[in-house]
Symmetry: C2
Subunit: 250 residues, 2 copies
């Protein structure tokens, strides 16, 4: 059977996350339903990342074994005709039989979005976390520099994870701010692999730094200390978007 | 009674437009309900523009006579605590007794958003119109130059309007494109006043130009001809956002 890999974009607002679960609307279920409609047989897919309820994706990768070949440029259009408005297949390509969207990716890039304005903004609220008072961007940028590299990120992991180790390698964390009112802040986090809620805790810690609750230099010792209670709060899911999945070594 | 003017931002997706109407959710009703909760008495407001169902606003102006003074910087916060997620008051200021949000504004600026990509994008779809094939931006820019100034815009007015004249003065129409996939196209239209569906028909005409259905130079004669059937189609409401209301002569 040919194995197809495909990139999916979704607005996570009305989803209980990517992965199938009982009594909840998951992106995986919606995609598998479309695959079944298209190929007239039940098809199980594997995704690169579970993603929490409310998290968005511009570039989520999945793979599935399908009963026949649909050309790579036609597959997205065929799927999109069957998918609801909040999910779309952006691209597809055939892969080797042993390729796994879960195990063969080289890393992922997320952006956590925050906006600052004296009043909230309905047009930004869906994909961005509202922070009334502008945080200190320069301090956030200084603190961001400590995350790159291989560290034990136990302080940046929600309890309840089942991982064997909390050591992960991040490629980098960058903070950018655009505009004045609203000021839109993007916290970009890229790395090989992530712990449960890791990006949202990194974003919450950097926001605390921007609000003067944590000094930039303290972030190094918070990473080293491995104590979750020393890091910032987990920011809400709606501000997080999976922006890119690294498939090759690029 | 003090008269207060205030700027409102709303996501128009779940509204039947700004103005109150029977059996539909209108922004005006939601705002008047919050005013009533705040001042404990029924308050009627006047808006700068009705806006169609599905149209968004980053800067809609209203005024209302209120029974007592709430400081200008506190009014938005008090209102926002009472408003649903898809509407917010951004700013407020007290005005003269005879100021009207409807009659005393000097003009408005709209942006119509289109995005182009081989596949649709759930994260752009809410506020942008999807156009699979990239239109010719240079042609659209050339055609846009014909709209500025005072013209009879009968060709750019939906039937059913009740206006006495179809002459309007536009300050300008600009077309910009950002990015490649998706390419996000912004058609900015600013003017003194507008006819029913005028911006959406201008956007539809410029899209036809970008698709080669109308030559840029023909736009001048379409304006002059005054025949609605010669202009492009009315693009969907969701791509349209009221971006600014000009209150002074600036």
């Amino acid at each position: 059977m040919p194995r197809i890999a495909f990139i999916t974009e979704f607005d996570g607002t009305d989803f209980a996350g990517f992965q199938s679960q009982e009594n909840a609307r998951a992106v995986q279920d919606v995609l598998e339903k479309a695959l079944e409609d298209l190929y007239k047989t039940k098809i199980r897919l594997t995704g690169c990342s579970r993603t929490d309820a409310g998290v968005h994706a511009r570039c989520h990768l999945s793979h599935a074994d399908v009963p026949f070949v649909i050309p790579e440029d036609k597959f997205p259009l065929a799927m999109n005709a069957l998918l609801p408005d909040d999910v779309a297949v952006k691209k597809s390509f055939y892969v080797a039989d042993d390729f796994s969207a879960r195990f063969d990716i080289k890393g992922k890039r997320y952006i956590y979005r925050i906006y600052s304005s004296p009043t909230r903004s309905p047009l930004l609220d869906r994909t961005s976390y509202y922070c009334p008072v502008l945080p200190d961007i320069a301090k956030m940028q200084a603190a961001a520099s400590f995350f790159a590299g291989e560290h034990d990120f136990a302080a940046f992991c929600a309890t309840g994870g089942s991982q064997k180790t909390t050591i992960r390698r991040l490629f980098g964390v960058k903070v950018e701010a655009i505009g004045e009112d609203p000021c839109q802040i993007e916290i970009e986090v890229s790395g090989e692999a992530f712990l449960y809620n890791m990006v949202r805790i990194i974003a919450g810690t950097l926001l605390y730094v921007g609000q003067g609750k944590i000094e930039p230099s303290e972030v190094a010792s918070i990473i080293e200390g491995g104590d979750r209670s020393q890091a910032g709060k987990t920011l809400p899911a709606k501000g997080l978007t999976l922006e890119e999945v690294f498939i090759d070594s690029d």
